[in-house]
């Protein structure tokens, strides 16, 4: 517990909040790496997932490939690319993109698949182009699940982006590696706590976004007794059926 308090104290120490390698700088680097990886991985995974979800084809290979990618240890991938590409951000970015693709892909195709087939069939039958079905029907209705995939990918990137410091002088991971090397455990723990706080804040942000993208018509709860009178009289057919005992 003392160590934990030391970690907090390290975070609160004003000396760590300015100058080169300060907390704001590392935080900014960490967020930038996360955002960059998210953009690259999304550009690859979301269109592929959308095509799979829309056509219903290629799901099996996608599941197998993303399952395989999930099984890759990121540290091993990072080391491999680090040896190949040398010191710098290239290796961690590639490793993190590989890490982020499976949840993004799964979110995208699950989101598109989740849309009721009858709704899509009706959209096609009234004359929507395939691109309009994707953009105006499947995307808005599948969005909450797609965002769910982005959310889980983002969390994994934030947590694992600490490894960027393994081969590059970037991100909150610097504090962890630095602390480990110099046996400065308050710094190491402080760095970890910062990563956790960042992850929680971003996750909270995504929780809000995920709520906001649920289309209003889907959120609208089914309300009873909303039938209003028609503008013209309707045919009356038979007597109303009254079931059960009337009280």
């Amino acid at each position: 517990m003392n160590l934990f308090l030391d970690g907090i104290a390290w975070i609160l120490d004003p000396a760590n909040w300015s100058g080169p390698g300060s907390i704001p700088q590392r935080l900014w680097e960490h967020v930038s790496i996360t955002a960059l990886v998210l953009v690259i991985a999304s550009a690859i995974a979301l269109p592929v997932g959308a095509v799979i979800g829309h056509t219903g084809r290629g799901r099996e290979p996608a599941v197998r490939v993303s399952g395989g990618l999930r099984a890759l240890p990121t540290l091993g991938v990072l080391t491999l690319f680090g040896i190949w590409l040398g010191i710098g951000l290239a290796a961690p970015i590639i490793a993190l993109v590989i890490l982020a693709i499976p949840p993004l892909l799964a979110g995208a195709y699950a989101g598109f698949e989740s849309v009721d087939r009858r709704t899509i069939d009706a959209a096609r039958a009234v004359g929507m182009l395939e691109s309009q079905i994707v953009g105006k029907v499947e995307l808005p209705l599948g969005m909450p699940i797609v965002v769910g995939g982005i959310r889980s990918a983002t969390l994994q990137i934030i947590a694992t982006a600490t490894l960027a410091a393994y081969v590059a002088n970037e991100g909150l991971g610097r504090f962890i590696f630095e602390g480990l090397k110099t046996r400065d455990f308050p710094q190491m723990l402080g760095g970890s706590i910062l990563v956790i706080i960042l992850a929680l804040v971003i996750d909270g942000l995504f929780a809000v976004i995920q709520r906001l993208v649920v289309p209003a018509g889907v959120r609208a709860s089914r309300t009873r007794e909303l039938r209003s009178r028609p503008t013209r009289s309707r045919a009356v057919v038979g007597q109303p059926i009254i079931e059960g005992n009337q009280k």
């Binding site: 709704t119 004359g127 929507m128 018509g217 309707r234 045919a235």
Partner: protein, 270 residues
């Protein structure tokens, strides 16, 4: 006029949904395809707007083979009403009704004004315009579906078991509404159902399909009852039993009509 010429459909899994169908669907009348599941009636309906393409044969609208038409443009000119309404759950009632005019490039204001008129046409209060489909009853959703089908003022209205999922009272109401609408609008309605009573109620021409996608008989309800083409038709329409096998008995000088079970069905008006 819609014409099926030697139309067959075999699905990739080998199912023969429709076999060698020839039928003429007259304009401005209601033609009802009726049959049990697997009789190919929905497949025939969906061939008209190219949701399904025949394996062989031709479907013609006013003499033009639909295979020569671009599917999306063709569909935008034909009304389509399906079971469970098929409304877009994330769009309001008015946006759902205006879907196709907006796809065809109508101005939003015009499309919405027209959509409000269509709500009147199908007997829905304009106050429902800003609701979402999930906030409507099943019957109201079907009315919105019909309004959407009418939005581009199509000559042809395809209805695929549109009243299949609503309760019997609402279904009877919707059937009467459709009869009223058809009296006013005079569309070429192609209607699919498995309910022979619904077929006889709504159809000017009733097409009885048997399992395996063949037409057993296509005629007016009167003609079918008078001259069922074969035992299958006679059995299907139940001409020899229940409420269709009526006979007359005289009670106190008035002629009472009894059904097949001997229950009084009405008084014979003379």
């Amino acid at each position: 006029m819609i014409e099926f010429r030697g139309v067959s459909k075999t699905f990739p899994d080998g199912t023969r949904a429709v076999v060698d169908v020839d039928i003429v669907i007259p304009p401005r009348k209601t033609t009802v395809f009726v049959g049990s599941s697997g009789s190919g009636k929905t497949t025939l309906l969906r061939m008209i707007n190219r949701m399904v393409d025949p394996t062989s044969g031709q479907v013609l609208i006013d003499g033009t083979d639909v295979a020569t038409r671009e599917p999306v443009a063709l569909r935008r000119g034909i009304g389509y009403v399906m079971q469970n309404s098929g409304l877009l759950p994330h769009r309001t009632v008015i946006d759902n009704v205006a879907t196709v005019p907006l796809l065809r490039g109508a101005r939003k204001r015009d499309a919405h004004a027209h959509a409000l008129e269509l709500l009147d046409t199908v007997g829905l209060d304009r106050s429902l315009a800003d609701r979402y489909p999930s906030q409507l009853s099943g019957g109201q959703q079907q009315r919105v579906g019909v309004a959407r089908g009418l939005a581009v003022d199509p000559n042809i209205l395809l209805m695929d078991e549109p009243f299949g999922a609503v309760d019997p009272i609402v279904r009877a109401e919707l059937q009467q509404e459709l009869l009223r609408l058809q009296g006013e609008l005079g569309k070429t309605v192609v209607f699919v159902t498995h309910d022979i009573d619904e077929a006889f109620l709504l159809g000017d021409q009733v097409v009885i399909m048997q399992h395996g996608g063949k037409i057993s008989q296509a005629a007016s309800p009167t003609e079918i009852l008078a001259n069922p083409a074969d035992d299958f038709v006679a059995e299907f329409v139940g001409a020899d039993r229940g409420k269709r096998a009526l006979h007359i008995t005289e009670v106190g000088g008035r002629r009472i009509v009894l059904d097949g079970d001997g229950r009084a069905a009405g008084v014979l008006a003379s």
